[in-house]
């Protein structure tokens, strides 16, 4: 008789030695199982009762098994939404307040953009950084006194037409 990979297997009818050896090993193992101490036997009995008790307890079906997963996902989504809303509002009003709320620190850190900031960054036409050639003009404009409100033009159209 040969095994799958060509190893010859002993024929129990011909070779009695392996059978005797196996019997002795088996008897030794069985004796060790019978001689287990009382604490182990007690713990095994308790484990068995616990398993059987689980069978008697109410069984949740497939829907029940998935219910905690769904509830967890909804709770996590709600938490993220609240964190974003709170963070955005606090970031747009005052930095001092958000820094006093450590739980929301990640969402409402001073660097967290407000809604206005996000719109500004998203709008390419709304921001125009000065060119290097225009620095003199901006310095001059900043040095000028603020115009009086009564003298301000009401609209660009009137200024052009005047």
């Amino acid at each position: 008789m040969m095994s799958e990979d060509g190893v010859p297997l002993p024929d129990p009818a011909v070779s009695g030695a392996p059978q005797e050896f196996e019997r002795r090993v088996r008897s030794l193992l069985e004796e060790s199982a019978e001689r287990l101490d009382g604490s182990v036997r007690s713990r095994l009995t308790r484990a068995r009762y616990a398993a059987l008790e689980a069978r008697r307890s109410p069984v949740r079906g497939t829907f029940g098994a998935w219910l905690p997963v769904g509830a967890g996902a909804v709770a996590a989504s709600a938490l993220v939404a609240v964190a974003l809303i709170v963070g955005v509002h606090r970031g747009s009003t005052t930095v001092a307040r958000v820094s006093s709320v450590p739980v929301m620190a990640a969402a409402a850190a001073p660097s967290a953009p407000s809604v206005d900031d996000l719109e500004l960054i998203a709008d390419n036409d709304a921001i125009e950084l000065p060119n290097a050639d225009d620095y003199d003009f901006y310095e001059w404009a900043a040095a000028q006194p603020a115009p009086k409100s009564a003298g301000e033009p009401k609209s660009g159209g009137e200024e052009i037409g005047s």
Binding site: V7, F21, R55
Partner: protein, 225 residues
């Protein structure tokens, strides 16, 4: 990583695939719990008694098999308890003759998971500067490990010595050989049942078993001469 395998032949769980997960691994997701809702109270009580008898009949051998593999009493008890729980929850409605291969399939998965976890934990602990201290804490009490001074019958001493040698030799066997030998020789499963419990072919079971016997004979020959 999860390794999905299917039970062969008569022990197949149908559309439920087995998974070597932390629970010891059989069908942890979306498993129909044995149709318990459909059985009557007397049938359930009868099934409970059958299960009780089955578990009571295998618990000691199952514990010894787990203990030899894990070399730890508490871990072995945990593994057996997990396997009992998993069998009862997921497969109690299966025919009783399938329980034993299923139970040992679960138990072997659980043992493998615990061995893997122990390996990973050892790897992680070796990186920690204080792992030597924790090892010291886990070490057994040397007084408890010392041999008893009470006089023991010679036969008992010889038996203990032989048992220690056998356990050591079994622990040194490759996993598959140890599984095949213990399930066939100690638990008394037939080749088909052993193949179902191990998730391999019957030919592989014969090969593993034969090699295990050869190895054990070469190591233990002196104890049985």
């Amino acid at each position: 990583m999860h390794a999905f395998v299917t039970l062969p032949s008569a022990y197949s769980t149908g559309d439920v695939r087995t998974e070597s997960a932390s629970m010891g691994g059989v069908g942890t997701l979306a498993v129909s719990i044995g149709g318990l809702d459909q059985v009557s109270a007397p049938e359930a009580a009868q099934g409970g008694r059958e299960l009780d008898r089955f578990l009571a009949g295998i618990e000691r051998k199952a514990f010894r098999i787990a203990q030899i593999a894990l070399r730890n009493e508490d871990d072995a008890l945990d593994a057996v308890q997990d396997a009992m729980l998993q069998l009862v929850r997921a497969y109690s409605s299966r025919p009783a003759e399938e329980w034993k291969p299923l139970f040992y399939r679960i138990l072997e998965n659980r043992i493998r998971d615990m061995q893997r976890r122990r390996t990973v934990r050892g790897r992680v602990m070796s990186w920690l500067p204080w792992h030597a201290t924790e090892d010291d804490d886990d070490a057994q009490d040397p007084m408890a490990a010392a041999p008893s001074l009470e006089p023991q019958p010679l036969a008992r001493l010889e038996l203990n010595e032989a048992m220690g040698a056998l356990e050591g030799a079994l622990a040194r066997l490759p996993t598959r050989q140890r599984q095949a030998f213990l399930l066939r020789n100690f638990e008394g499963l037939d080749v088909a049942g052993t193949a179902a419990a191990m998730g391999c072919s019957e030919g592989s079971v014969k090969t593993h078993y034969f090699r295990a016997v050869q190895q054990l004979r070469s190591e233990l020959g002196e104890f049985w001469k």
